[in-house]
Symmetry: C2
Subunit: 210 residues, 2 copies
């Protein structure tokens, strides 16, 4: 099956590109057709990869979807860190960070991950693979958010408010998959950013509430 | 198929009970096996209802799942209103309301609804049925939350914070389906309630932030 043209590309590079195409195709299909509608046949067709090569790299559908979502989540994490580096410092930063997280959880990668999570709920084998992925992603997103917001987690309640922010954008991401609109999300996150900023401000405004 | 014993029960009552059993069985199966694993055959078996009777009341699987989730969501809404009537007034009320919403979104009915939403995302017929249901449920839950919290929605930002609260419990509900723990949810909602109470307090603490 090899041709003179392709043999010039080192094997390792070709393997990497093939795996990449398989994972991209998997995420596309999860978004378009859902977990149930994503088959390994469709994935290899869309990726332009032979069935044999696909099975060699990812023996089962579950291997493929877990690798694809994990890989793309990691990429999106890097994108997020890069985008974060360009955010304004000082005034307006909290809102910029929160809106960026909101956009992140409204992206196709979130939709693909949602398909995977929901499928994993009733598939023990998939659940075992998704659990550790989810924990890692959760920890990394939390760490990044703390860093971006410049939160002091030793302040009582600060850690919970960062977690609440992430659960909020997860809830908005879920609503978004059913056709919710971005303007609603932005209004809610503008108000939450304002509230979060006040709540995380050194302890002048919360004494009487504890 | 009728027996002397059952003919004593009025037909209307028997029909109501049969529909109820079909819908209960559907929700149970959505929770246990997911949307993909829920078949009309399994539903009629579990409900103890003949295939013919089931098809008469709910001609397709989609009819069944939409009716079941809509019906049980309405019941849960009534339960919520009843539970709300027993909540403390005054101090501690915001937290009690928010924790109650958190429990509501961590219930099997949420899980069944999640299966339905995710399936509807890639099934146009189901999407058309779920969209109006979702809008109605969303409006009712919003109205109830405003009422329970005693929120004045003319106050700037108040409406968005109520929406944020509901998106937060939705996000926590989603996390819960993958085996997240209730203690984490409660800690987050305790902090959220405290923050919400401060933010919704008449405008003494937010002037410099707008």
């Amino acid at each position: 099956m090899t041709t003179p043209a392709t043999t010039r590309i080192p094997q390792e590079e070709r393997t990497r590109a093939m795996r990449q195409r398989l994972m991209d195709a998997t995420v596309e299909l999860l978004v378009e057709k859902g977990f149930g509608g994503t088959t390994t046949t469709l994935v290899s067709e869309r990726a332009g990869v032979s069935r044999g090569a696909q099975l060699h790299h990812f023996p089962t559908k579950n291997d493929l979807v877990v690798a694809a979502v994990g890989h793309l989540t990691a990429i999106r994490g890097s994108d997020l860190e890069a985008a974060a580096a360009r955010l304004p410092k000082g005034k307006g930063r909290t809102e910029a960070v929160v809106q960026m997280l909101g956009d992140h959880f409204a992206s196709p990668v979130f939709t693909a991950a949602l398909e995977l999570w929901v499928a994993a709920r009733t598939d023990p084998g998939l659940h075992d693979a998704v659990g550790p992925l989810e924990q890692r992603v959760g920890r990394e997103t939390h760490r990044l958010t703390v860093e971006l917001l410049g939160v002091d987690e030793t302040q009582p309640g600060a850690r919970e408010l960062v977690q609440a922010t992430l659960d909020l954008v997860r809830g908005l991401g879920l609503a978004n998959t059913l056709g919710d609109d971005a303007p609603r999300r932005r209004r809610i996150l503008t108000e939450w950013a304002r509230t979060l900023e006040t709540a995380l401000r050194p302890a002048d405004s919360e004494g009487d509430n504890r």
